[in-house]
């Protein structure tokens, strides 16, 4: 069987055949390696898998889909910070500069993602506007468990929700990155958003450590974490942070730190799974054993990705029905 001949024939009727197999480079990498390693009997199965991936009905999200999901999350965050800054008595003076910077970073990310969508021939979702979001977690009712987060005096809850949003974002970008590998420049931009979100998370967590000890401003950075990671977390995710800031509400922040969809949803490359943040096994290695460290340290050393299905399910709690984060 001459695979190259077959693909050449297909290309006559489907010029995008190479793109359907991940990328042109990758299909040749597979083929050149496979020829030497596969037995003749195994080839048909391999080819079937390759073509199923290329033409199967559940090919997973496109680059544009991934970018629009990221854009939706950025709007969710942007309006949350913007609303917080415009709610008198909510954000302590010592934090206004930081929250303003974070809000502005999200605005920059919105700009970058819109431009990236244009570059790939996609269409950026329109600005959904503040009214689309329900930060109470009530799916539009306004009556969810986090309603007090945007009221004066709701500062602690506000930062708890902020942490949950930003950690969801970090996990979402990590889960989305493999879908962007066909475009190196856009991938790098997404990575450059991902790490900035992680910096934001670190700072929000630092603010929360301070707040739990009634310290505001620079003293927050020198405040050690408290006994309860739900209230006074480290700047990194330790185990599953006991379910995050609000594990016993509906919606629960436990989903932000728990496992994603397993087996992974369509299109996720083989070998990528979505364990919870308490995972201590990486690529078949057990980090606790290899490095003789605690499960807490091993889990902290590696953040975990979250798949697009789980990300949307979490985010849907914070929008009116049938607006964003649709399946």
């Amino acid at each position: 069987m001459d695979l190259f001949q077959i693909i050449t024939e297909i290309e006559k009727v489907d010029p995008e055949v190479y793109e359907r197999f991940d990328t042109r480079r990758r299909v040749f990498k597979h083929l050149s390696g496979m020829g030497k390693k596969l037995t003749a009997a195994a080839v048909p199965g391999f080819v079937a898998a390759l073509f199923n991936k290329a033409y199967g009905q559940n090919a997973g999200p496109s680059v544009a889909d991934v970018l629009n999901l990221a854009l939706s999350l950025e709007y969710l965050e942007y309006y949350f910070y913007d609303t917080g800054l415009n709610t008198p008595g909510l954000i302590p003076d010592a934090d206004r500069q930081a929250i303003t910077t974070i809000r502005n970073d999200e605005s920059g990310h919105i700009k970058v993602l819109r431009e990236a969508l244009t570059k790939v021939g996609g269409t950026a979702i329109p600005d959904p506007g503040r009214a689309t979001f329900d930060y109470s977690g009530g799916k539009g009712s306004g009556l969810g468990p986090f309603a007090a987060a945007l009221l004066p005096g709701g500062t602690a809850l506000y930062y708890g929700v902020a942490q949950s949003f930003v950690d969801t974002g970090v996990r979402a970008y990590k889960g989305g990155a493999p879908f962007l590998m066909t475009n190196a420049d856009i991938l790098e931009q997404a990575l450059n958003i991902h790490s900035v979100e992680a910096r934001h998370s670190s700072h929000i967590r630092t603010i929360r450590r301070g707040l739990a000890a009634a310290v505001s401003g620079p003293g927050a950075a020198t405040t050690p974490p408290g006994a309860d990671p739900k209230l006074s977390p480290k700047s990194w995710i330790s185990g599953n942070d006991q379910g995050g800031p609000s594990p016993n509400t509906n919606p629960s922040t436990a989903d932000v730190y728990g496992p994603g969809t397993n087996p992974p949803p369509p299109g996720v490359p083989t070998g990528i799974t979505f364990p919870g943040e308490d995972n201590v096994a990486q690529a078949g290695r057990t980090i606790t054993t290899d490095s003789t460290i605690s499960a807490a340290a091993a889990s902290e050393a590696f953040d975990e990705p979250l798949d697009y299905v789980k990300v949307k399910a979490i985010a849907r709690n914070f929008v009116k029905p049938n607006t964003l984060f649709l399946d």
Binding site: P178, V196, H203, G217, Q282, F302
Partner: protein
């Protein structure tokens, strides 16, 4: 290098072959990796270049993994030296229950985990050697170099931690584009966000509210105080760095014979 453990994946485990086979089995990345190893066998990426005395990380996926391993070696060695205290007193002088002691202790564990992970994951025939750091420009007795200190004054522990963490983030972000195996991209992603968390906290310790600042992030400025989202200058993106730029800094902390050559990347 030898390939027998790869071409006979059902053979009885041997101590040397086990990690590699486990890796293939669990990641499901065997197909892509097989191709990589064949490529890797065609050159001597992993050797010290006899002409320049530099350590060539190689190219493509294995090159990126070695590059990451090199940077993690540097970070792990640095924090190990900080907490061991053999060459400096700064860490020993921190309060037993102080935040900073806890932070530096955690960072030492995380970076050790990263280093060990790469050491155990990169195939034995392709892995770069253990590097010898040169921390002579760091004063392990000092936390933060005094403001306005004369040129040539050594970095303190926090100055160096910040430099390593920020460099690591910029390096991972700049190297993702050279990966072809999505499993490796996902693994790099798991590590880089932890480095970013470290970097932000060390920066906040150094100077509060600098968790993102213009030296590491292209900050965004809205057109006006009431602008709609997305309208303004800047991007809010991390300033990723190409391997050649990263190595110019990293090599300042590596001894002769351990300096890196990343000409195979990009």
């Amino acid at each position: 290098m030898t390939k027998q453990t790869l071409s006979a994946p059902t053979a009885e485990p041997t101590p040397a072959g086990l990690p590699r086979r486990d890796f293939l089995r669990y990641t499901g990345a065997g197909l892509a990796l097989t191709g990589l190893l064949l490529t890797g066998c065609n050159d001597d990426d992993d050797e010290v270049d006899p002409n320049t005395g530099t350590v060539n990380v190689g190219s493509s996926d294995l090159g990126v993994l070695n590059y990451a391993y090199a940077l993690e070696q540097l970070e792990a060695a640095f924090y190990a030296q900080v907490v061991a205290g053999g060459t400096g007193t700064y860490f020993a002088g921190l309060g037993a229950n102080s935040a900073e002691r806890q932070i530096l202790s955690d960072l030492a564990l995380h970076e050790k985990a990263h280093r060990d992970f790469f050491r155990n994951t990169i195939p034995a025939g392709n892995i770069i050697k253990e590097l010898t750091p040169d921390f002579s420009t760091i004063d392990f007795n000092v936390g933060k170099r005094a403001t306005g200190a004369p040129a040539g004054t050594k970095m303190g522990v926090l100055d160096a931690a910040m430099a390593f963490e920020d460099l690591g983030v910029a390096a991972y972000n700049g190297a993702g584009r050279y990966l072809t195996n999505p499993v490796y991209l996902a693994l790099a992603g798991k590590i880089v966000s932890v480095e970013a968390r470290h970097a932000a906290l060390i920066r906040d310790l150094m100077s509060y509210n600098t968790f993102v600042a213009s030296d590491v992030v292209d900050l965004f400025t809205p057109t006006s105080a009431t602008s709609a989202p997305g309208l303004g200058t800047g991007t809010g993106l991390e300033k990723s760095k190409k391997p050649s730029v990263v190595v110019a800094t990293a090599n300042q902390f590596l001894q002769e014979g351990s300096k890196l050559n990343v000409s195979g990347l990009g």
